[in-house]
């Protein structure tokens, strides 16, 4: 007996429109990363010196938190693919809580830098560090809003095995936020 063809059709997870949005976001972040590297090439010593003041351990914590949050959201997608709404809500909540840990840690980092008198105009390294990480921080907040909306709908029983595009759409956006941080963390905090 031939297997069900439904399981062999390759489809893009989530809504098509979110992927257009994801590609646009990746393009913007890509331009920012390359611009950072270009500007750094003219101020290598300044960038290396300024980088030393960053709280690497907070960057590490945020990387672990974001990867873990993404993993929880993957488990939420698997749960709804098994028609298990209750478990889907559980893992979405776990993803949201870990996402909030990222926001809190990053907020503390911004507060700490501001208290040290560091601002966008301190030097070109901090212009990039603050603008790139704040831009990413805003994406994390948007991602959390999307995940909360998806979780609330899942809690009302709005998703099922047959209809869970919304869960995959929210998850795809959240993984994009994770993917961008995977490049941002070593670029700004570690590479020298």
């Amino acid at each position: 007996m031939s297997p069900n063809p439904q399981y062999h059709v390759k489809v893009l997870p989530g809504d098509f429109a979110i992927w257009m949005f994801i590609f646009a976001e990746l393009l913007v972040f890509g331009v920012l990363f390359i611009t950072y590297a270009v500007v750094r090439s003219n101020h290598v010593e300044l960038f290396n010196e300024s980088q030393l003041i960053l709280a690497k351990e907070l960057g590490l914590l945020n990387t672990l938190v974001l990867i873990t949050s993404s993993y929880f959201v993957v488990l939420a997608v698997y749960a709804i693919q098994r028609n298990d709404s209750k478990r889907c809500v559980f893992w979405l909540n776990a993803g949201i809580i870990t996402g909030f840990i990222f926001v809190l840690t990053k907020s503390y980092e911004f507060y700490e830098k501001t208290a040290q008198g560091i601002s966008l105009s301190t030097n070109s390294f901090y212009t990039f560090y603050l603008s790139m990480t704040f831009f990413h921080y805003m994406h994390v907040i948007l991602g959390l809003i999307i995940l909360i909306a998806v979780m609330l709908k899942a809690k009302r029983g709005g998703y099922s095995l047959e209809d869970h595009v919304g869960v995959e759409t929210g998850a795809s956006y959240w993984h994009m936020v994770d993917l961008v941080w995977i490049v941002l963390f070593p670029l700004v905090y570690l590479i020298r």
Partner: protein, 85 residues
């Protein structure tokens, strides 16, 4: 991909993150260090693209677009760091 496979991917991502951080804390810098960090980021990014974003089981073109983005960004960063230190 099942839950166990996702857990394996998550553990590898965590391990690679600690590797990058550990090398940085050990005071490494220079071209070899840049190459290791860039390769680590590529592997981590590829795992997120293929397994978390589930693009490995999507039409090839979408997977290639995101992988190409990651590759271009990392190659240009590497070239700039190799050329200017």
């Amino acid at each position: 991909m099942g839950t166990i496979h996702a857990t394996k991917i998550w553990l590898i991502l965590i391990a690679l993150t600690f590797l990058s951080y550990g090398l940085s804390q050990a005071g490494y810098e220079g071209q070899t260090f840049v190459a290791v960090l860039v390769l680590t980021s590529f592997f981590k990014g590829q795992m997120i693209i293929d397994h978390f974003m589930m693009l490995k089981t999507s039409p090839l073109i979408w997977r290639l677009i995101v992988l190409f983005w990651l590759m271009i960004v990392l190659v240009l960063i590497t070239m700039l760091y190799f050329s200017f230190g």
